[in-house]
Every structure is written in C-alpha cells, then in structure tokens.
Symmetry: C2
C-alpha cells in the first residue's frame, strides 16, 4: 500500500496466501458474515485478493459484469456519468461493503479507489453457482442488497427535496454513523474524498459544498482541522439541520 502508482493492480489468488479468509478482519461485516468454516472455505476457493492504488478504476459502467467485489480496506467511490460528463456519485464504499451489481450483465456504475485499497474479487458465474448451494450466503446477499436499497431511497429524498445545508449535514451524519466504530474519537470523521466528489454525491457543486462547510464552521457546529477530516462539535444541531427542523 501507500504506492501512489496509477498502474494496473497487483493480483494475488487466495490459494497463494496462507489462511485466506479465516482471519479476515472484515469478515463479520462483509459478504462472508454468518458462514460456517466449511462454507467460508468454499467461498475463499473462488476468491482473489487484489490491491488498487489511489485513483485506479476498478470497474467501468457498461463493461461486462464478470466479477463481484467485497471491499476489505480503503475506500471506493461509485458513480454514473451523463454523455456530457456530468457525474453522479451513487455511493462511497468502506471495508465490508460489496460492489458489482449488474443490469443485463453490464455493470450499473463505475468504481474507482479513493485511496489505496484492497478488495476480494469473486467471478460472478462461480459465485452464482455457490449461491444455489449455500443458502446462508444467498440470504446474506439479499440482506445486503435490501439494505443498499433502503439507503438509496434515503438518498433520493436527499437529492430531490433537501437544501444544500440539509444535504451536507445529512452527509456528515451518515459518515459519523458508518465510521463510528472504527475511529477512536467518534466526533472526528475521516473524509478521504475530495469536495468535488462530495458535491457529485449530493447533487451540488464543489463551491457550494465548500461554502456550506465554512458556514457550519462559522456557526461552531463543525471544525475543519488541517490534516483532513471533519470534527463534529454540535451533533444535535447537525441532526436538526439535516431534517430541516428550523
């Protein structure tokens, strides 16, 4: 990691590595959750671990959807493009999340590494074979996709009906909720993506994101320490701003 190359990613098949999935630190929140040892072994047999540097494209919208992925380290951005280049982020992924949803065997979005990251890769055909034999796995996948769908609906409400402040506040809150467990201080949320990525996620411009953040800073609701990340000073006000309660 820490290689800042934008070149093709290093690939290691799990058979080369020792103890492939058994001691995976994200298993409890990933696709592999709730699988028996035996089932885990079957899954690991078809998986490949790969590392990608910051900025590397993992999948391309409309490419043939040959693989599914599970993020194990770093962070990934998902997005769709319009012909003239307008971009909409459809999600940010962190360890435990999966990607590779398809429509007619084509990926529904592009994915790119925000920082150096690691993923588990499963050939779609082999995984679908496993699904019919491992009902636990299929059930797990169903739960993960359903959860994604609920989040997508929240995002529709945000994109269609919230103001800039409400959007930015909501975004910060979801980051707190997700990163909550991992960070020592719950109130300092890491922000690996740039302002323009955030803008494209919230349906705003870079400039509006920046202005809104400085307004929140002036109101002492957040602090923006140099070195990245955002510090939440007044969670209560932020919650109210996010729902338009003022």
């Amino acid at each position: 990691m820490r290689s800042h190359s934008h070149t093709a990613s290093a690939v290691t098949t799990q058979s080369e590595a020792y103890s492939p999935c058994e001691n995976c630190n994200v298993a409890q929140m990933s696709l592999c959750h709730a699988l028996s040892c035996e089932e885990l072994r079957e899954l690991s047999a078809i998986s490949t671990s790969l590392e990608v540097g910051r900025g590397v494209t993992i999948i391309n919208e409309t490419d043939s959807a040959d693989y599914l992925f599970n993020v194990t380290a770093g962070s990934i951005k998902l997005f769709k493009l319009l012909p003239d280049g307008r971009r909409q982020m459809t999600g940010f992924l962190f360890p435990g999340d999966f990607l590779g949803i398809a429509m007619n065997d084509l990926y529904a979005y592009s994915a790119e590494a925000i920082e150096d990251s690691r993923l588990c890769r499963f050939p779609r055909e082999k995984l679908e074979g496993l699904l019919s034999r491992l009902p636990q796995l299929e059930n797990r996948l169903l739960n993960m996709v359903s959860h994604e769908l609920v989040l997508a609906q929240d995002q529709m409400l945000l994109l269609g009906r919230k103001t800039a402040v409400e959007k930015v506040s909501s975004f910060l809150i979801t980051l707190v909720k997700r990163g909550g467990e991992s960070s020592a201080d719950k109130h300092l949320v890491p922000l690996p993506m740039g302002r323009s990525d955030i803008g494209d996620y919230l349906g705003l411009t870079t400039e509006t994101v920046s202005r809104t953040l400085t307004n929140l800073k002036k109101q002492k609701i957040i602090a923006i320490p140099s070195g990245g990340g955002i510090e939440i000073l007044d969670q209560e006000s932020l919650n109210e701003l996010a729902e338009g309660l003022d």
Copy 2:
C-alpha cells in the same frame, strides 16, 4: 373495484378463493415467477389477496414491517416525507412489482394506491420461513431487489444531475418501457398519477412539470390527449433530450 371509497380495504384469504395463484395473470412477472406448482402452493398458503380503493394508504413509513406485498392490479405510489411535509416519491409500482422493504423491521417508505388496485399480501415472518426452504424463491427475490437497486441508482443520477426537461423526458421514456407490452398502441402511455406526484418523483414542482410538458407539446414531441395519458410523437428526440444530447 371502481369503488371510490377511502375506507379500509376488503380482505379475502386465498383459502377462500378457488385456484388462488395457479391462474394468476401476473405470476410470470411477479415474486411467484419461476416457482414449481408445489412451491406455488406453499406460497399461496400464506398469502392474502386484498383490494384497495384510490387514495388508500397501504403501508406507513416507520410502521412495523409485518407484511410484504406483490401488486397484481392497478398502480401504487411509494414516498418518503420530511418533517415539514416535503415529499419524495421513491417509485411507482405496477402489476408484478413488490413492496415492503424494511430497515430495522420498519417500513422504509409509505405506499398509497393511485387508482383502485389489488395486491397479494405475505406475512414477513412466514415468508422468511419459506425463503430458507425455497431457494428458487429467495433467488427470485434477490434478483428483484437487485433490479430495484439499479433503477434507484438511475434515479439518483436523474435527481442529482439532470435538468427539468431531461427529468421529464426520462420519466416518459421509463413509462413507455414499462407499459410497452401491455398497451395496444406503444406510443400512448397511461399516466394514472397527477402532476404533483410526478413533480415529487422528479424533484420538481407541479408547475415546472406542467410547463415542461406544454413545451414538449409545442415542439410536437408529445401530445396530451384529453382523457389522460401522453402520446409520444417523436421517441427519438425524447431519447436525446433525456440524456442531454443537445
């Protein structure tokens, strides 16, 4: 049907009706698709048919998610609300679609009948019991939810990055695609929902939807016959408008 009452819906358990699901006309596109006779019998044993009049609320956001539904006739709107009443439609459902996705055992959205409609209702607990025994059913559900997720991502692109014309054009096109098979003339799309419902689906106001439609009419791209519905006169131009290709 055709009852315009807004009262509680009539309920009939499938056991009362003869041949409950075997001759269901929407089976091939619904949850029940790809099930064997035996499996279909198991599913029908836990299902209840119910009819709802126009305007009747089927589920309420944040209510306990005790049931899943499959639409068999009519049309349903799904939406989420902000505390101050702003509304975002998350989808319109037609025969074959399902609803009842939950988050922490609470419904993620409200659902209301746009016109007199019929649904199949499944108690969640019993259905989940069936899922573990009928892998075909679980697989079917996974495919349906995945498909929903892809559509949700398209909608995010629309809400976050498209202009009013692009939004309305895209909306008309998806209606053509969905209703294509059922209508005799492919170019006349039914529009059971009102302008304000469309606005809340596209992140626009009623007025902007109306203005945009009359613009498209002036350009001879669509016609708006009295009696409801929209006639597509120039599908090609509409496709281009939807993607911002001009």
